[in-house]
């Protein structure tokens, strides 16, 4: 301690922080927020002025039935895809090069092409084999656009889910297998009781993303005459030329996706609470 600090200058409080400057970041942030607020206000105002009780009465129930179609389609294809993804995952992890190669080809083909191309190939393309399909009795199934969409979506999501599951199983450390073996468990027991529960926790987040992707991706069935939410929207728009149909569809999809995202976040927090300290 020197003479100056001890006797001449008493201890001073820190100077007050300088007022926050209106830097570029703050200006642009405020402007952008104003833009979003204006956009939201404009949207609400637009929907308010465009409100037409006749249209709402006529197309509202159709929108709801379209919503139901979307949810049914996505729900069933996700569930069937989960079942189908199990053998694909096993094939992907198999040491047999033929089985491994086939499973890899399946996954690569379905992940490498657009879902819409797969849907068109199945819905329009299989029409070329009408007689053969009729002979086998499968034509009744593939004649219907809804069935074709379900079939295409199931194959597609199975490929994605197989990759998710494989990655998750790979992420479980080898020591878990070895420990179980040391305890005398056989491989099937080890897989179901030790590996899979740990893998599913890792897979939880990608599974949620896959469901969201399927909800969004399912909008393309409107192009093959299935009246899901998007299909009803297009029908309403083509009859009324009222743009609010698309805005309502956007609101519906947005609420659906956000609700699922929030529910999934809660679920994940709940299921991984033993991992947090």
């Amino acid at each position: 301690m020197s003479y100056v600090t001890e006797t001449l200058v008493a201890a001073q409080p820190a100077p007050p922080p300088p007022p926050k400057a209106w830097a570029a970041a703050r200006i642009s942030g405020t402007l952008l927020m104003l833009f979003w607020i204006a956009a939201l206000a404009g949207l609400v105002f637009y929907l308010y002025t465009a409100w037409d009780i006749d249209k709402i009465e006529r197309y509202g129930p159709k929108f709801l039935s379209g919503l139901q179609t979307t949810l049914t389609l996505v729900g069933i294809s996700i569930a069937l895809g989960a079942v189908l993804s199990l053998p694909v995952t096993l094939g992907r992890m198999s040491k047999n090069p033929v089985i491994g190669g086939l499973a890899f080809a399946y996954v690569y083909i379905f992940r490498g092409t657009p879902l819409i191309a797969q849907l068109f190939l199945i819905y329009y393309g299989l029409g070329s084999f009408r007689e053969q399909l009729q002979a086998v009795g499968l034509w009744v199934f593939f004649r219907d656009a809804w069935n074709c969409a379900l079939f295409a979506f199931t194959l597609n999501t199975a490929a994605y889910q197989a990759e998710i599951l494989r990655g998750a199983i790979d992420s479980v450390p080898r020591g878990q297998w070895e420990g179980a073996e040391a305890l005398g468990l056989n491989r099937i027991q080890t897989f179901w009781k030790i590996i899979l529960p740990q893998a599913l926790i890792v897979a939880l987040r990608p599974y949620g993303n896959e469901i969201i992707l399927m909800i969004k991706g399912s909008a393309i069935v409107a192009l093959v005459t299935v009246f899901d939410l998007m299909g009803e929207t297009r029908r309403a728009f083509s009859r009324t030329y009222d743009f609010q149909a698309y805005i309502w569809a956007a609101v519906f999809y947005f609420v659906m996706v956000e609700a699922l995202r929030i529910v999934w976040e809660r679920l994940e927090a709940r299921l991984t609470r033993h991992l947090k300290r």
Binding site: G29, I116, F120, Y124, A219, T233
Partner: protein, 237 residues
Amino acid sequence: MDSYLTLLSFGDQGWSDEIAWGVLVTVTLALATLPVGLFIGFMIALGKQSEERSLRTAADIYTTIFRGLPELLTLFIVYYGLQIGIQLILKLVGLQGAIEINSFVAGVISLALVFSSYASEVFLSAFRAIPKGQYEGGYALGLRHGTVMKKIVLPQLIRIALPGLGNLWMILLKDTALVSAIGLTDILRQTGIAARVTKEAFLFFGIAFILYLVLALISSIALNRLEAQGKRGEQRQ
């Protein structure tokens, strides 16, 4: 068999020239969207890691909206919404007449909106992977903020973000197929027309399917090379 070869020939009888044009449109659309989407995505990522709260919130809202809407719906909203919006503005100014917006432009805008909202997340996590010491070292050397970004952060950022951006490129390539719904003559549109005219749906949609697969294959080879190029400075085991 011969009839198939005729269908697939170039020229008046065949459809290969039409389909080749479709491939060109698809690739051009994806390549035109890429820089726009990357730029917007980078800007949004900068906003998300800003110290200014309003900027962060605004950037988050952008991502939430465009990740929450189906790509097809975004496309329709941009395509029809822009037309209606421009017509409204023209009417306010006093001009009359129907405006038809180019479906290619609508495709680029909507695909860029979707691409950038995902890309911003990739950039953001890459930003977070770069230690603070890199910035501090740069400032200690007396470099300005812009120079630190350009010469120190960006080269590392690109390398870290490359795998994620590669995935997004593959998704973008697949999403371009949706523009056939607004009448742009891409692969799917052209093969669809061929299928309707010739009644050989399986043949032509199969070709579309294979073409997309080939595009994906070429992209993944190119991306692997790029990633190897980016990693060449790292120590080899």
